[in-house]
Subunit: 698 residues, 2 copies
């Protein structure tokens, strides 16, 4: 309690208690606490001491090459970790990050050439906070035993074998309970002010990148870009709504919201709907192409254009046989690609298909049950039978939720089973699996209405309610509930004071729930985008509603990540990964659904009858329009380059420089290199080593 705190009045994160950096260039007066490792309650002091030594040991001795701090004393159950300069710089090279060269260009960082990079003496300016924290995690999770090893204070069954991943073993042994990056309260305050406390229109994306890493920054950039790009369809939707009737647009809007099945029946509606549909189909492709260009620019700016994940160590839980990597020549775990493909094809695809089938079965049961219950209610017509009316819906919701939860675990297990080498591949495959399911779950009912029931007005009703209800529900569950929980349950327990010891502040950060990840945020956008692009022609004001939603979404998401959750770790990434593809697929699928919906719409049917077109001819016309739109979208996608011209030139320049270096390199004797490059001895050996090995293989 209070007395204990008073004892430790001296702030413990001073230099004295940190482990020593191994090289003199890394010595610094102020050590920045980056990551907090929370140990299990029963971890003995000898285990903690061993762990601190391991974290502080040099990498060549099998350590992490980091700095560790034991917290208040040897008994406390936390370790605060930081990183010295050399470790950070080496990891920067290993991750393939680009940094500002002395010429002002972004260049792939090279440890040997560190003096030519700007700020390479000041880590807080050279790397972003998120990068520094990620590097600590990367080094800790990458720790592998160099020989068989007993962990002091643990039973024998936790003995480490050669090349075992130490961190995983410690987690499974309960030694490590948790690990999270620490907030920097000053920077956080600045970020908040620039982000959501004012009335600013633009987001401080560079600061977000600096503080939360570029995964988060990419999400917010996309949200920003997408929200702005909603303006044209919103304006078009509003003007169509305005010009389409004698009503004032506002009245129309309200009417639309309250009873969307009452339609303004004017001649203009047909062409208005068509304009809206064609516009939104082409708009979506243009937006996605422009976003790709923007994404490439951001990636260059944030130094992730040349990430070298493929050439780095595999992810911690990757397993396989020890062998020589044919690409890098390093001895590491290998897992054959065709085996992974086989696992995906024979296990993952059928299982995912099965779950999608279960969604359909659930939906069918729901419709069947609803029909039965309605019949029952008609026959009996009592209070009891009226309550029965809700049973199918309730059962369906329960079923869907359970299925979703089971599926999430199954997807995780499947992706783990696929045994991807790189973290990003793992993430992308996992995301893709969950994404397909969630999307299917969200849209199955709408597709059913659109393609089987072929009931446009029901679709419109459903869409309007979904747009309004789900967005309200989302905002509430995402922000309001965590806010209330934080305010009235967690915060009183935290009760932070200015003069609390640093450790308690760190510990308090643990009382926040962990950040649930960007998946929920992206899927929300994707579902939105789906409503807009797939079905917008039945409800022209979709874009307006989404625009309004997103303007608040930006702020609430920012508030959420800054205040309501623990700070997350995010690895450097070069783009949105699989989300990019999902949006593009949706954009193409929109052509099919829009053409179909236009064909179904009563206005078009009436127009066809007036012009003496049979149903078959109308269908033929729709098919032709669809094919033309496909072609136009495809041409737009090909013609707009994915990277701006100047980035392409930069990339080619990097390629040329590498090619040139390789040609020069091979002519220099290897001995010379060893003399010059000192600590990269290993690399140089491995380079000649793998050439020999390859020669032997072939």
């Amino acid at each position: 309690g209070a007395s204990q705190k008073a004892k430790q009045a001296s702030t413990p994160c001073t230099k004295g208690d940190w482990t020593k950096a191994s090289c003199p260039c890394c010595e610094s007066k102020q050590v920045e606490p980056l990551v907090l490792v929370k140990l299990g309650g029963k971890v003995g002091p000898e285990t903690k001491r061993w762990l601190i030594r391991l974290i502080g040991a040099q990498q060549k001795d099998g350590g992490a090459g980091l700095l560790a701090h034991p917290g208040e004393d040897a008994q406390s159950s936390i370790i605060v970790v930081s990183a010295p300069r050399c470790t950070l710089l080496r990891a920067t090279e290993e991750l393939g990050l680009c940094k500002t060269y002395h010429t002002g260009e972004m260049e792939a960082f090279s440890y040997n050439d560190r003096d030519n990079f700007r700020n390479s003496n000041n880590m807080e300016a050279f790397l972003t906070l998120a990068e520094r924290e990620y590097i600590v995690k990367y080094e800790l999770e990458g720790l592998r035993a160099q020989k068989d090893l007993r962990i002091p204070g643990l039973p024998d069954k936790y003995t480490l074998h050669n090349r075992d991943n130490i961190w995983q073993k410690l987690c499974s042994a309960g030694v490590i309970v948790d690990m999270f990056p620490l907030h920097n309260s000053e920077k956080l305050k600045q970020l908040k002010e620039a982000w959501y406390l004012g009335n600013q229109l633009s987001q401080p994306l560079d600061s977000v990148n600096e503080y939360f890493g570029n995964s988060v920054a990419f999400y917010f950039s996309f949200l920003d870009f997408y929200t702005w790009s909603l303006l044209p369809p919103a304006i078009l939707g509003l003007s169509i709504a305005y010009f389409s009737g004698t009503f004032l647009s506002i009245i129309f809007l309200l009417q639309n919201l309250l009873s969307p099945d009452i339609q303004v029946d004017s001649g203009l509606m047909v062409s208005g709907h068509m304009i809206q549909a064609v516009f939104s189909m082409l708009w979506s492709t243009v937006v996605m192409e422009l976003w790709k260009r923007r994404s490439a620019t951001l990636s260059y700016r944030w130094g992730t254009l040349q990430l070298a994940e493929r050439f780095a160590e595999p992810r911690p839980s990757f397993h396989g046989k020890l062998g020589v990597n044919p690409v890098t020549g390093r001895v590491e775990l290998l897992f054959s690609e065709w085996q992974r493909d086989l696992r995906m094809l024979l296990v993952s695809v059928p299982v995912v298909g099965l779950f999608l089938g279960l969604v359909v079965v659930g939906m069918m049961c729901f419709y069947w049950g609803e029909a039965q219950v309605k019949q029952l209610h008609k026959d009996w017509d009592s209070y009891l039978s009226q309550t029965f009316l809700y049973i199918p819906s309730v059962l369906h919701i329960v079923y869907t939720n359970m299925l979703g939860n089971v599926y999430r675990n199954v997807a995780q297990a499947l992706t783990e089973f696929e045994n991807h080498r790189e973290e990003s591949a793992f993430e992308n495959h996992l995301t893709a699996k969950v994404l397909v399911f969630t999307f299917f779950n969200n849209f199955a009912v709408l597709f059913h209405i659109a393609f089987f029931k072929q009931d446009v007005s029901l679709l419109r009703k459903r869409l309007a309610s979904l747009l309004i209800v789900t967005q309200l529900v989302n905002q509430v569950t995402e922000v309001v509930i965590p806010f209330l929980v934080d305010r009235f349950i967690s915060a009183p327990r935290r009760n932070e004071k200015e003069d609390d010891p640093q450790e308690d502040k760190f510990r308090n950060q643990r009382s926040l729930p962990p950040f649930p990840g960007l998946f929920a945020e992206y899927i929300e956008l994707l579902v939105q985008f789906g409503y807009l692009s797939l079905f917008s022609c039945v409800f022209p004001l979709t874009a307006v509603l989404l625009l309004l939603n997103n303007v608040t979404e930006i702020r609430s998401d920012a508030y959420k990540i800054c205040k309501l959750f623990r700070k997350p770790f995010y690895p450097p990434v070069a783009n949105m990964g699989v989300w990019q593809i999902a949006f593009e697929i949706l954009s193409f699928a929109s052509v099919v659904s829009n053409c179909w919906l236009l064909l179904l719409s009563p206005h078009v049917q009436v127009w066809g009858q007036e012009n003496g077109l049979s149903g078959g001819n109308l269908l033929l016309m729709a098919v032709i329009v669809e094919h033309v739109l496909f072609l136009v979208k495809f041409i737009i996608a090909v013609v707009i380059p994915d990277e701006p011209y100047w980035i392409r030139k930069k990339r080619e320049h990097m390629e040329y420089a590498s090619m040139w270096a390789l040609r020069q390199m091979v002519s220099l004797s290897c001995t010379h290199l060893i003399l010059k490059s000192g600590c990269h001895l290993f690399d140089c050996f491995s380079f000649s080593f793998f050439q020999t090995l390859e020669a032997r293989e072939s």
Copy 2:
């Protein structure tokens, strides 16, 4: 005449008459004549002497660094050119060719590291004949004036200015009339024997690559691959034909050929046609995907996986402003990309569109004229009016041919106007333009019948006659006529004897017509592939006919290129370029046309009526099938990797080695490099130079 020949009994291509190689390592006893340059009749001896000096001068003095031989004497109008070792090796590096390293792997050739590459002392084993000849052409055509210069013996208007392309100037001044690579009669004989003189099933692709270069080798590889891959659809087509009726398959086949509109009307036909159509749609995607993999393998094998055309000098007729290339840092001509895009968008696309429109107009006029003439014939019914019946066809053929000729020149001019930097880009854009037009010209009538007249039996009749007639016509015009011309007109004039002087043999090669290029060969395949994939469902024996045709086509094409034409120059290429894309587009377009034709086919219509499906429902079914097939084809295309696994690993390994070299490189001081790499002084300077320049720019 004969007396003159007797005078020059001493074979003149001995060492004595060749210009001296500048460096001692290039001295060799035997100089291999590679390229013949034919001078104009009025070229004076001083011009010829100047030209020989220029060809022999070192590259740093503005020469080509090659070896030249004046032919019989200073008055003769030819120059025979060869290349010394150092020039060949430097050009190999510049072109980015991969060669066998001492480890047995293919590695990008580096001049500095030449001693570690196999056979780098023996140019005839190190480079293929085609490569050696292409390098000579590359060096000659790349000659640029280093200062203002008068050419001796030419009027003042042909004075060269700084950085003018010398070879172009000489061609336009009539000094150089012709330039072609020389045959090596011994190698040619071996090649012929291995290629088409026996009964071999497989082609000697590596020898073709060695002798004619990899553009030609890629064509024959594709022809080979494609012919083999016709087997499954041919077998399917035959078996469907066999099982589809009570007739024997042979009778059916003959019937089909003679009067394709008499159809066997059995229940099996419907499902047979459908199986055929669905099979051929999926087959085409699988074939193209597998070909991409084969193509990547061949490219690795032939050392063109890492061509560095982007980093080399621009093509001779490229024009622009002098500036610093942002990629390589060299001072060279630059032309902004957006200007090229603008030219393509505002000039090329509309002009090509106009010509396509003219094709349509021509076709409409033809149909209109035909109707008019038929009416006239009906009204008059005389001999005169009967001859009138042929007028529209004749006019249409004349119109189409004229349009085709005009278009070819226009396409050339347009592509020249687009001012592409790389030879391959120029070729691809030119090919694409001509290709679109030719394809449109070939298929306009068929599409018209299929989609507007909707007459399946007419389409079948037309397709059968096209398949048989055009293939016969092609074989005749491509092989028989040149053969006859060669045998009875050219050959008697050549009248070669064993003891003729070498020069006369060279001169005789000039009497052959120049090789018309691979365009005609590829377009033939593409049109075939079009018949097969677009319309195969109306005529199931297409694949059988094509298979038969292609088996002879392989031999006749081989005979043609070996015997009937002058040897062509071909640059190294990594794949089929734009043809690859054309085949893939066709493969996707086939889904639309096949589904449409199936829908039209009377069997399906009858089947629909029997099953109580209205026209609209039938159309809907066809559309659904089409979309599913699109999806399946798309998934197949994505799932089958474009490169075999081992090639991807090799590519990644090269990337890794370059990255690694760059990181090591930057840490070494530049002075050291200059000392070590000697003749690459310029490169090294330019490297630091462009970094400075870029810094100044930004």
